[in-house]
């Protein structure tokens, strides 16, 4: 039995149970996971939009600051050098205002008043230093006319504010702003004729601006900022921020290919993108991310911004992982349940089958079939009943066979006419009796009987008459003998009688006479009476022989002598 039915059935049941719960669990998990990712994409997009709005507001605020100072009458007076007497005082006052602004705005690196003449010489400059705000004067003031935030800004129409590209500030002497990512805001200062005679320039710390705005974001969110070309300006990995400044490329469209549609100049152009999955480039882990591109309306911005937020997919899926764990435990418990159920079911099914099988085995080994589950009303009960029925049938047939066998045995060992043991059975019994007698040292007596006149009866009255005589002789012999004695017909009209036990001569004589007398009685046949009789010879053990043949021969000879004597 390589695969017992119990196993087959059990495994099938378990398989169905586990597979069913497993698949249901898996698809439920998958659906919830997709929903989570989608929801987090939307959440990120919203957060990015809010952040972008804040950025825009902040940038516009800075532009307003620059414009306000540019329109301040004192700025014009200083640049025109009209208030010669108060020049120094005015400059000090404006510097003080700049200092106040830097104190209020931690994201401002630098505020300057730059004149258009003298190659864009700085007139008033306040820098953020390490932990202090510095008023820069004298030789430390520089000429900035060759920077776009000067030469481009001076060409702007009235009322507009120039916003530079985001870049690393490589201007020597910029104090805290040196070598830091910066944005320059320049607002032209105009004289009464409307000519741009100088600029108010505010350098903004790009990182602190964005970090300040992003400070309320959940810690697992990562902030990205890229310019219109896709160069990262802010990236969780500092090596990817401003890579272009180091002669390398680190582009948002390389890390997040979907953002290609956000770049300035791309067709078709989208203003936002959400994405999830594994991305090439910097991050090796899977992320969910949202990106928005935005120009700065109302400002003369040199560039656009692409702002993005990402969240590790793992943290998005933390919830779904919990769900997965729960689903898994449900699946597992249902599977265990399925296994238990399968065991119970299999046992319920297999036990009666085993009962039947062992019953049948016992039966085939010759024993009784035992108790079968016949009381069940199902197929197993039916099977048990059928088997029981079959067993009954088999029992009956075996009995018949035995009976048949007995009959055959009887036929083989008895004379069919008289019902007496035949010669073969008699010899067998004689041998056994001899063995017994030898062991118990007792005696045996054989009476050899030959019917007289039998041939004549046959000839005169027919074989049926002879048969009647033989039957009558048999009956009479049996009626004379004890149960332990044996009378047998060993030939046509020859009988032999075996008497066990020790007999003295007189008793033998007596029984011989009784037999002779009995045989002499006429046998009624149809309307006549048939006259017969018998000659009897005696052979005795151990006196006349010690073997069956010698004993029979001795009795035969004695019978023959007797017959001869009588005739």
């Amino acid at each position: 039995m390589r695969f017992p039915i119990a196993w087959q059935l059990g495994l099938t049941l378990v398989l169905f149970g586990v597979l069913g719960t497993g698949l249901t669990g898996y698809f439920a998990y998958q659906a919830s996971r997709d929903q989570l990712v989608k929801a987090s994409e939307e959440r990120l997009l919203t957060a990015t939009r809010v952040l972008m709005r804040q950025v825009t507001v902040a940038l516009k605020g800075t532009a307003t600051d620059a414009r306000m100072f540019a329109q301040h009458p004192q700025a014009v007076r200083i640049l025109q050098n009209t208030a010669a007497d108060f020049q120094q005082l005015s400059e000090r006052n404006v510097a003080l205002l700049f200092e106040r602004m830097l104190a209020v705005h931690p994201e401002y690196f630098q505020m300057r008043l730059i004149e258009a003449d003298n190659y864009g010489r700085e007139r008033i400059r306040v820098d953020r230093g390490m932990g202090s705000i510095l008023h820069i004067e004298g030789e430390d003031l520089q000429e900035k006319g060759h920077y776009p935030y000067v030469f481009d800004a001076l060409r702007l129409p009235p009322g507009s504010v120039y916003v530079s590209r985001a870049s690393i500030n490589h201007e020597i002497g910029a104090h805290a702003g040196e070598a830091r990512p910066s944005l320059q805001f320049s607002a032209p200062v105009r004289d009464t004729e409307g000519n741009a005679i100088g600029l108010v320039v505010i350098n903004v710390d790009l990182e602190s601006l964005f970090v300040q705005l992003a400070v309320d974001l959940p810690p697992e969110l990562r902030l990205y900022l890229a310019n219109g070309r896709g160069d990262f300006l802010i990236h969780p990995d500092p090596a990817r921020s401003f890579a272009f400044d180091r002669g390398q490329d680190a582009l948002v469209q390389d890390d997040f290919p979907e953002t290609a549609v956000l770049l300035s100049g791309s067709r078709p152009r989208e203003d936002y993108v959400v994405t999830s999955g594994h991305h090439t480039g910097g991050a090796s882990e899977a992320l969910v991310a949202a990106f928005i591109s935005q120009s700065l309306p109302g400002l003369e911005a040199e560039d656009e911004f692409i702002l993005g937020l990402s969240q590790p997919l793992s943290s998005v899926l933390a919830e779904s992982n919990r769900l997965a764990a729960e689903t898994l435990s449900i699946v597992l418990s249902f599977s265990v349940l399925a296994i238990l159920l399968a065991i119970v079911l299999v046992r319920a099914l297999v036990r009666p089958l085993h009962q039947i099988v062992s019953g049948v085995r016992r039966f085939s080994a010759g024993g009784t079939i035992g108790e079968l589950p016949v009381a069940r009303s199902d197929e197993i009960g039916e099977l048990a009943l059928s088997i029981e029925h079959m067993v009954t049938q088999i029992h009956k047939q075996i009995e018949d066979l035995h009976e048949q066998q007995d009959k055959l045995d009887h036929l083989a060992s008895h004379d069919s006419l008289t019902g007496l043991p035949n010669r073969r059975l008699f010899l067998d019994r004689l041998e056994r009796a001899l063995a017994r007698a030898r062991r118990q040292e007792t005696q045996l007596t054989l009476l050899f009987i030959d019917l007289d006149n039998f041939k004549a009866i046959n000839d005169v009255h027919g074989h049926a008459a002879g048969d009647a005589v033989l039957q009558a002789v048999a009956q009479r012999l049996q009626s004379l003998l004890r149960e332990s004695d044996t009378a047998a017909r060993i030939g046509g009209d020859e009988f032999i009688v075996l008497l066990e036990g020790t007999w003295d001569d007189a008793s033998v004589e007596h029984i011989v006479h009784k037999v002779q007398a009995s045989l002499s009685l006429p046998v009624p046949y149809q309307d006549i009476e048939l006259e017969s009789g018998g000659s009897i010879g005696v052979g005795r053990y151990p006196q006349d022989g010690s073997t069956a043949s010698t004993l029979i021969a001795a009795a035969d000879q004695a019978m023959y002598r007797c017959k001869t004597e009588r005739s």
């Binding site: 030789e139 900035k144 776009p148 030469f151 490589h170 002497g173 910029a174 680190a250």
Partner: protein, 363 residues
């Protein structure tokens, strides 16, 4: 190609087709799986600058020689040095600025060439054939680099504003063009320009006493320019947007090509002092698998097809024919390592930041 450091990060042809991850996978495949299958076809590993090994040129070489060519693109001297010095075994042949070549020779990274294996050198202009006259191309009497392409850093001028082509480098300081000049933001070259303006003996050797004058010149330059650029595209934008009159073409013909493509009516002039110029040579690595094949590649690059495409597509000059818009007698001053790059850059950073002379020269 000196000063292209800012163009873009190195990027091989292969990785522009595949993303990095699949490149990695391909790398593994190459290492463990496919390599034996390809072993039958010899592979030539070429490290080239953008535009040097055009697909058609590679294809015709592959067909002629029954090999496969693996081209990797570099875009900065720094990455080229990094690749050749750390992974010499991975490349057979590469192109390098002749001014840079000496350090490769000194580091024993390249091998002496067998000119007889490069018959096409006979087609080169005499001044490129005479390697002894090109500083840096030879060492110990043996040739190490075969000139391939070059560009002078001439002056681009707007034909409408500048009637006569400028003949002197001093044009950059010409007050007539104040606020209409665009210059390059790079200390090494700008000090060479200042040295040329000052008629120093060599633009690459500023003597101690000459530094204040040179710095002064650069402050004067700063005061005369509209602005400074670092990248070719940026220069073109500045030039067009601000209707500039004159521009120092650090990227040479590449900028001319870009401006012409944008429809600008410009001229290109080589000043009499001679234009600073970079010259790229093909060289064979020390570890080249099949030097003869590498030589054949160099010969192929000097062929008609490669030279024609170089000019047509990149606007770069081949060493076979004179530039069509060049004047006879144009002088090129091949770049040489300057006396003190660090000092030039430090002082330049101060000039560019707007410092006055005393500040620029401060220790």
């Amino acid at each position: 190609m000196v000063n292209c450091i800012n163009i873009s990060v190195e990027r091989s042809l292969i990785s522009s087709v595949w993303n990095r991850r699949s490149l990695l996978t391909a790398g593994f495949l190459l290492l463990f799986g496919v390599a034996p299958a390809w072993a039958a076809t010899p592979v030539l590993r070429v490290l080239a600058w953008p535009g040097y090994a055009e697909p058609e040129v590679v294809q015709s070489f592959e067909q002629q020689h029954g090999v496969r060519v693996e081209v990797t693109i570099v875009t900065s001297d720094a990455t080229l040095w990094q690749k050749i010095s750390t992974r010499n075994m991975d490349y057979d042949v590469f192109a390098v600025n002749v001014a840079e070549l000496q350090r490769y020779i000194a580091a024993n990274l390249v091998q002496a060439l067998k000119p007889e294996l490069i018959p096409n050198t006979r087609r080169q202009l005499p001044r490129f054939r005479d390697l002894a006259a090109i500083p840096g191309a030879m060492a110990e009497g043996r040739a190490f680099g075969i000139p391939f392409t070059y560009s002078g850093m001439g002056l681009i001028y707007d034909r409408k504003q500048v009637a006569v082509a400028p003949t002197r480098i001093a044009a950059l300081w010409d007050s007539r063009y104040r606020g209409k000049v665009i210059a390059y933001d790079g200390g090494t070259h700008n000090f060479s320009l200042a040295a040329q303006r000052l008629k120093l003996k060599s633009p690459f050797r500023i003597e101690a006493a000459e530094w204040p004058r040179a710095a002064e010149q650069l402050i004067a330059l700063r005061r005369n320019v509209l602005g400074f650029y670092t990248q070719p595209e940026e220069s073109v934008q500045l030039f067009l947007r601000h209707k500039a009159a004159l521009m120092f073409a650090n990227y040479g013909m590449q900028q001319v090509q870009l401006l012409k493509a944008a429809g600008a009516d410009i001229g290109y002039a080589i000043p009499d002092e001679g234009a600073l110029a970079w010259l790229d040579c093909w060289v064979v690595t020390r570890a080249a698998r099949d030097p003869a094949l590498s030589h054949a590649w160099i010969d192929h690059m000097l062929g008609e097809q490669a030279s024609r495409l170089l000019t047509e597509r990149q606007g770069l000059a081949s060493t076979l024919v004179e530039q069509a818009d060049g004047r006879p007698g144009d002088r090129l001053v091949w770049l040489q390592p300057p006396e003190d790059t660090g000092r030039r850059e430090k002082l330049w950073a101060r000039v560019r930041s707007g410092d006055q002379l005393s500040r620029v020269l401060a220790p």
